[in-house]
Symmetry: C2
Subunit: 380 residues, 2 copies
C-alpha cells in the first residue's frame, strides 16, 4: 500500500471523477452537463433541468412532458407527513424538518406509494418534488393558515409561490422563481453534495443520502449566505447609510456577505442573471430600496478592495435574498429553498456515484494516548 497522504479537510484531494458540472472560475462560467447556465436560465425550466441532471441529456418533447407530469403528480403530501409538519415546533428551523421528512419519506414512499426496492430513483420523484411542498406547508402553518394543496398546471417555481401564498403568482414572478431554482440546482462538489455521495457510496437509499445532504446544507459554513445578505440590507435600512455601514464593517474586519467567491475569480455568472431579476422585480413592484442599498454596498466594497488591487465581485447570494424578499418569501425559507433546488443536483451525484461506486473510506491518524491501565471507580 502506498504511503498515506495527510490532507486536513481533504484539501487538494480529488475524491471522484464527475461529468455533471463544470465551473470555470477564471472565466466566470458554469455549465450543467455542458450547457451554460445562461442558456439554462433563458431557455429551460426547473423540471427540464432536473431531467438533464438525472439523465445527462436534454429530453425530447415526449420525454419532457412525461417527466414533468411525473414530477407534478408527486407534489401532494400524505396526511402523516402533513402531521409531522404541523407538529414541528414553531420556533425550530425548517431545515431540521426537511432533513427529517425526507428520510421518513424513504420508508413511506417505498411501501405506501409505488416505489420499488430496485427503483433507480428516477421512477418516483417525491424526493425531489416534496421538499417544496414541505417548505410551503411549514410556512403556512407558521402563519396559522391551512395547507394549500399543489396545482398541476404550474411550473415547479410558480407552484411553490402558489402553495406558499394560496394565490397564483403572475407569470413573471412564477418564471423568476422557477429560474432561481434552475440557477441553484447544481454546483459541483460542495459539502452537501459530497455528503450525499458519501452516504450513497454505502449503497444506502437516495432518500437517506438526500436527507444527509440537507444536514450539511444546514451548517452555517455552507448554506445561509443569502439570508445573511438580506439581513445586512435590512440592517443598513437606506441607501445613504450603506457606504458608512460597509466602511465600518470592513474597518472592524467583518465579512460582507455575498461579495467574492471561493471558486469564481471573475463574476459569478449566476449573479448577473440574479441582478437582472432584481432590477425587473424592483421596477414592477415600485420598490428599489433593497437594490439601491445593494448597489451602494457593492460600490463601496469594490472601491475599498481596489485600493488593495483585488477586484471582488458579488456572488449569487448577494442579490438572491433581495429577489426572494420581493417575491414575499421570509428569510428563514432562503436556505430551505436552496435545498428545494439543489436536491436535483444531489440526486444526479447520487446516481453518478452508484454507476461506478467506491465506498469513501479515508483514514485517520491516531494521535491519542498510549494503552492505559484500567482505573477502578474508587481510585479516580
Amino acid at each position: 500500500m502506498a504511503e498515506a497522504t495527510y490532507a486536513k479537510g481533504l484539501e487538494g484531494v480529488v475524491a471522484a471523477e464527475s461529468e455533471i458540472c463544470r465551473i470555470d472560475g477564471e472565466q466566470g462560467k458554469l455549465f450543467y452537463l455542458g450547457y451554460s447556465i445562461e442558456d439554462l436560465a433563458r431557455f429551460s425550466d426547473f423540471e427540464e433541468t432536473t431531467y438533464l441532471l438525472l439523465y445527462g441529456r436534454l429530453p425530447n418533447k415526449e420525454e419532457k412532458e412525461r417527466f414533468s407530469k411525473r414530477m407534478r403528480v408527486s407534489r401532494d403530501l400524505a396526511p402523516e407527513i402533513l402531521e409531522m409538519v404541523r407538529n414541528f415546533p414553531k420556533d425550530a428551523h425548517p431545515m431540521e424538518l426537511l432533513q427529517s421528512v425526507i428520510s421518513y419519506l424513504s420508508g413511506y414512499i417505498q411501501h405506501k406509494i409505488q416505489h420499488s426496492a430496485t427503483c433507480n430513483c428516477r421512477d418516483t420523484l417525491h424526493q425531489v418534488v416534496q421538499l417544496a411542498s414541505v417548505v410551503t406547508a411549514w410556512q403556512r402553518f407558521q402563519e396559522d393558515k391551512e395547507y394549500v394543496p399543489p396545482r398541476r398546471d404550474l411550473s415547479h417555481g410558480a407552484n411553490f409561490l402558489y402553495m406558499m401564498r394560496g394565490e397564483e403568482p403572475d407569470e413573471f414572478e412564477g418564471r423568476v422563481m422557477d429560474t432561481c431554482l434552475v440557477l441553484h440546482a447544481e454546483h459541483g462538489f460542495n459539502a452537501s453534495t459530497f455528503t450525499a455521495r458519501v452516504v450513497a457510496s454505502t449503497m444506502s437509499t437516495c432518500y437517506s443520502s438526500i436527507s444527509a445532504a440537507i444536514g450539511s446544507l444546514y451548517g452555517s459554513l455552507h448554506g445561509g449566505a443569502n439570508e445573511k445578505a438580506m439581513a445586512m440590507v435590512e440592517a443598513i435600512g437606506s441607501k445613504d447609510k450603506a457606504a458608512e455601514w460597509v466602511n465600518n464593517a470592513l474597518d472592524s474586519k467583518q465579512k460582507i456577505m455575498g461579495m467574492g467567491h471561493r471558486v469564481y475569480k471573475a463574476k459569478d455568472p449566476r449573479s448577473i442573471i440574479m441582478e437582472e431579476f432584481l432590477v425587473q422585480l424592483s421596477k414592477r413592484k415600485n420598490n428599489t430600496l433593497s437594490y439601491d442599498i445593494l448597489k451602494e454596498v457593492e460600490k463601496t466594497f469594490r472601491e475599498r478592495m481596489e485600493e488593495k488591487g483585488k477586484p471582488i465581485y458579488p456572488n449569487v447570494d448577494f442579490f438572491s435574498g433581495a429577489v426572494y424578499d420581493l417575491l414575499g418569501i421570509p428569510k428563514i425559507l432562503f436556505t430551505p429553498i436552496f435545498a428545494v433546488s439543489r436536491v436535483a443536483g444531489w440526486l444526479a451525484h447520487i446516481l453518478e456515484q452508484r454507476r461506478d461506486n467506491r465506498l469513501y473510506r479515508p483514514k485517520s491518524l491516531y494521535v491519542g494516548s498510549e494503552a492505559r491501565e484500567w482505573l477502578p471507580l474508587e481510585k479516580r
Copy 2:
C-alpha cells in the same frame, strides 16, 4: 496550490487526526481513548463508556452518577415522536425511521425541552439515548403492542430489553446486552463516522450529523453483516448441514458472513468476548443450536482457507447475531441496535471535529462534455 491527488474513494488519504480510537489489526487489539476493549467489556458499562468517549477520560464517582442520571431522564419519548413511530409504514425499515426521528428531535429538543443553541451536545443526551426508545417502540408497534415507558433503575442495555419485551430481563441478560453496546460504541473512521464528521464540519447540529451517519449505516456496504450471519445460521438449520453448506457456498464464490475483517488480521478482540457470551447464553437457555452451527461453519471455513495458507478468523458480527437472537431480538433490529450503540462514538467524533474544525471539501475531476450549444425542444 499543490498538485491535486486523485484518490478514488479517498483510499490511502488521512482525512483527520483523532484521539478516540486505536485499532491494532496485526495484534487484534482495540482501544477507546487508550482503554482496551477487554477492560471496557469487563469493568465498564455503556453509560460510562459514553462518558469516556465524550469527555476523553473516565468519570469519577460523582460524575458517573450525574451523567448516568442525565442519560436516564432523557429516555422517554414525546407524544409527537411516538406518533411518528406509530405512523411509520410497518413494512418499511426502522433505520429510515431512526434517521428521520433524530433530525426531527433536533428541532424538537432544542425548542421544547431544555436544549440551548449554544449547547455543546453533552448537556442533553437525547440524541444518544432516544435511539433505543425509538427502536423498541417501533418493535412493540410491529407486534401490535403498546409502548413501554422506560425505567430509570436499569442500565441502558437492560432498559432496552425491558422496553422491547415489556418485562425486566434477568441480570445476566441485561449485562450481556449492555456490554454488546459497549463493544460496538466506537471503531474509528468507518463510513458512518466519517459521514457524521463531514456534516459536523459544516457546523451543523449534532442531531443533523448523527441522522446523516444513520443514513450511511443503513447502506448495505456498511451495516447489516450480523443480520446476514444470523440469516445464514437459519438457512443452514442444523450442525450436520453446516460443512456442506459452507463448501457449496465457497465453491460458488459466495461470501461467508462474519468471517475475516478488513482491518483485523489477527482475531477481532470483540469476537472473543461475543463468543463467550454466546456460549453462556446458549447454556442458560439450553439452546446450543446456533452456536453449534456457527462453530461448524468456522471450522469448515478455516480448513478451506488453511489450504490456501490464509488464517481467517470470525469477526464480531459472526457471533453477535446469534447472541441477539437468544436475547429474543428479531433480525431487523440488528442494524438499528448498531446505531443505538455507535451513536456514542459518532458524537465523540462530532465533538472532536468541532474542536479543530476544517470543512471537508475534496475536489472532483471533470470528465464530462465540452460546452454544448443549446438545442431547442423541437430539434431534439
